[in-house]
């Protein structure tokens, strides 16, 4: 099986670009689905533990003057999720609501989880997330520069930016609610995907030493990517297996981060093979071209 990884780089970038642009352009139109961690407000999870009518629950919520979206959750729709907008005196209203729901369905306090987050926290969380991503990328860039060369470092970090954008585009396109675990997921993918890229670069470094004089950079990239392809696929596959298991069996809070994690793993594997390595070859050949022309 021969795939021209390096030669068709424009196609690979186009595929990603379309996806990322679609997702990012949607943000100013629909906005991101920010959870209470970012937007402030309250989140209530109730284990009703019996079949119930969500409309009745909505009526209860409206009775207390609370503005919220109410939805079924859990395996058999026996749980409920309430996302509540922040307002004055919300704490007391929530207490009343809880009491009313407990009475109606005969529930114990242990069957409720309530998160209330002030608007300050959301802003801080966003700033922290951005800083964490910049600092992690910077440190990784320095490390790869030190262990490989400057060009590899820049290309590898570009691939990371790509992965983060893919995840942002995905949550935007699918309208997935994001909370603080999403920040953790993005950084995890940054760490995971760089691992992928490095395995390919490690092989390029090795092949470049052995065949650098005989083969073009594009050929070296194609050879190295093909040689590490089984490993790339198997690793993505084994990691995907455990994350899919998390998604299938996990509770709501786990699913919230398992979903972007799945996308990130696939995006990370894609960017290592189709973005990072080809870009490295293209950059090398571009930087040599002017010299070749003047020589001719």
């Amino acid at each position: 099986m021969k795939i021209d990884f390096a030669g068709k780089y424009k196609l690979w970038i186009l595929i990603s670009a379309v996806f990322i642009l679609a997702g990012v352009l949607l943000i100013p139109i629909r906005g991101l689905n920010l959870g209470v961690d970012f937007a402030g407000g309250s989140f209530m999870y109730i284990n009703v533990g019996q079949p119930y009518d969500v409309e009745e629950l909505r009526d209860l919520v409206a009775d207390k003057g609370i503005i919220a979206t109410v939805a079924y959750a859990g395996v058999n729709n026996e749980d409920a999720v309430l996302r509540i907008r922040h307002m004055e005196g919300l704490d007391e209203k929530l207490d009343e609501l809880k009491a009313a729901i407990q009475e109606k369905y005969g529930l114990e306090p242990g069957q409720f989880s309530v998160d209330t987050v002030g608007p300050v926290i959301g802003r801080e969380l966003t700033m922290n997330a951005i800083w964490a991503l910049i600092i992690a990328s910077g440190l990784i860039l320095v490390y790869i520069w030190f262990r490989f060369e400057f060009r590899s470092a820049v290309v590898a970090v570009l691939a990371l930016v790509h992965d983060v954008m893919i995840m942002v585009a995905t949550v935007s396109l699918l309208n997935i609610q994001i909370n603080s675990p999403f920040v953790a997921v993005m950084l995890t993918i940054v760490g995971y995907s760089i691992n992928d890229t490095i395995v390919v670069f490690d092989r390029i470094r090795e092949n470049n030493k052995r065949f650098g004089r005989k083969m073009s950079k594009a050929e070296i990239v194609n050879k190295s990517t093909a040689e590490t392809l089984t490993r790339s696929i198997n690793t993505a596959l084994t990691t995907l297996i455990v994350v899919v298991a998390l998604y299938v069996f996990g509770v709501e809070a786990v699913r919230e981060f398992a979903m972007p994690l799945m996308v990130g793993i696939i995006g990370g594997a894609y960017s290592s093979i189709f973005i990072a390595a080809p870009l490295w070859a293209v950059w090398d050949e571009r930087s040599k071209k002017p010299r070749a022309e003047t020589a001719a």
Binding site: N47, G110, V114, V117, V183, A184, T188, V243, V251
Partner: protein
């Protein structure tokens, strides 16, 4: 050499089985007892249920008193928690002006969160608007029953306060004294006689519960600074237990599928990797228990994710060994070169992942830190198993003279 390797391998295998058994079920030898690892793991609030609150102290920026005030507030909060029998609760400072309180397994979390943030400034105010005594003058406050079996708070004053109280009650016989808590009058008793003994009671309590609550607030003292609640998270105990169960189930299913995949794809080395994976899990769990890391829901996620990464190191090595075998090299040489050539990729890959995990730990709070910690522990443990354990087993396996490329999936 063959027998020696066979003995070594058997010993390691037996050791793993014994350790695995002890970790799962515990062991009792005479007086000594080893508890199963699972029982020793410190569970986060999201798994056992409880209350997590972030308070912010309303101090002026650059106020030199702020540090002392926040420390004082934390002491008062500790008193109040002890008064409410929440001895397992933790109170921690976060950054400049924040206090994080975590209380496992409470029934009425919202109520408790409010009590903690109550300023509890108690004042006895005379008819002329003068402050007679404050909460600071009180040495003992406890709930009790007054006239007609109504709930009251009995209090005793320090000698100095007792003197002030005696003077005032002598002066105001026949008049009313207001007892004010945080600006709200809770009781307005008539002074019938001068109170000289430094003892008294506050009536007007709704019930015994309210009296107990007020007594605790008075005894714990007033907060030296006002607090606002920035973030409150309450997790129902039932929901927490459910999350733990589902987390474990997904872990077991995910790992089982990975074990089968590795065995089918890599044959004999796959089996070695699988044993390595079990060793990896043992090491990670022991480190988590030994270093008292709190396991949160995202932490379980991090753990399961690091399983995927632990497998990766083995995959890199085995792919290398296969390549060398395809070039027609002997198994012994292939395994040696496979390991040495895979080393740089594994090392560089793990160091960069470690960088991301450390940054995450530094910038994250609460459960996110739990995630970062398990990831860091996982990366360390996976490097150890792949580079030391798997290598040891593979080398000794070769000495058993099992020469068949089919066993290596070539």
């Amino acid at each position: 050499m063959r027998t020696k390797s066979a003995v070594k391998l058997s010993l390691v295998l037996v050791a793993i089985i014994i350790l695995g058994y002890v970790a799962l079920f515990g062991l009792q030898i005479g007086l000594y007892e080893i508890v199963p690892l699972g029982n020793e793991v410190r569970q986060g609030l999201d798994l056992r249920g409880g209350l997590y609150v972030v308070y912010e102290a309303q101090t002026e920026p650059g106020d030199p008193e702020a540090d002392r005030q926040i420390d004082g507030a934390m002491r008062v909060m500790r008193n109040r928690l002890d008064g409410a029998n929440q001895h397992e609760a933790t109170i921690a400072r976060q950054g400049e002006r924040r206090i994080v309180v975590e209380i496992p397994g409470v029934d009425d979390p919202a109520e408790l969160a409010d009590i903690l943030a109550e300023p509890a400034v108690l004042e006895f105010i005379g008819p002329e608007g003068d402050v007679i005594i404050t909460g600071r003058d009180v040495s003992v406050a406890e709930p009790g029953f007054g006239d007609a079996q109504r709930a009251v708070v009995n209090f005793e004053l320090h000698p100095e306060g007792a003197q002030k109280f005696a003077d005032a009650t002598t002066r105001y016989v026949g008049q009313a004294i207001r007892i004010v808590l945080d600006g709200v009058t809770i009781s307005e008793p008539q002074v019938r006689d001068a109170i000289l003994g430094g003892r008294g009671f506050i009536d007007g309590m709704e019930n015994m519960e309210a009296a107990t609550r007020l007594a605790n607030l008075i005894e714990s003292g007033a907060l030296p600074v006002n607090l606002t609640q920035l973030e409150t998270r309450t997790i129902g105990a039932t929901l927490g237990a459910n999350a733990l169960e589902m987390g474990l189930l997904s872990g077991i299913v995910g790992i089982a599928i990975v074990l089968v995949f590795m065995l089918l794809f890599y044959r004999l080395p796959g089996l070695v990797a699988n044993i390595g994976l079990i060793v990896y899990l043992l090491i990670t769990m022991v480190i988590i228990v030994a270093s008292q890391v709190t396991l949160t829901l995202p932490g379980i996620g991090g753990l399961i994710l690091s399983v995927g990464m632990a497998v990766d190191a083995n995959v890199i090595i085995f792919e290398r060994i296969r390549e060398e075998l395809r070039l027609g090299k002997t198994i012994r040489v292939s395994v040696d070169t496979g390991f040495s050539k895979a080393l740089s990729a594994i090392l560089d890959g793990n160091v960069t992942t470690l960088i991301a995990a450390i940054v995450l730990y530094y910038y994250g709070t609460g459960p996110i830190q739990g995630f970062a910690i398990t990831l860091i522990i996982g990366i360390g443990a996976s490097m150890f198993t792949a580079l030391i354990f798997t290598k040891f087993v593979m080398k000794n396996l070769i000495n058993l003279n099992i020469y068949s490329n089919r066993l290596y999936g070539v």
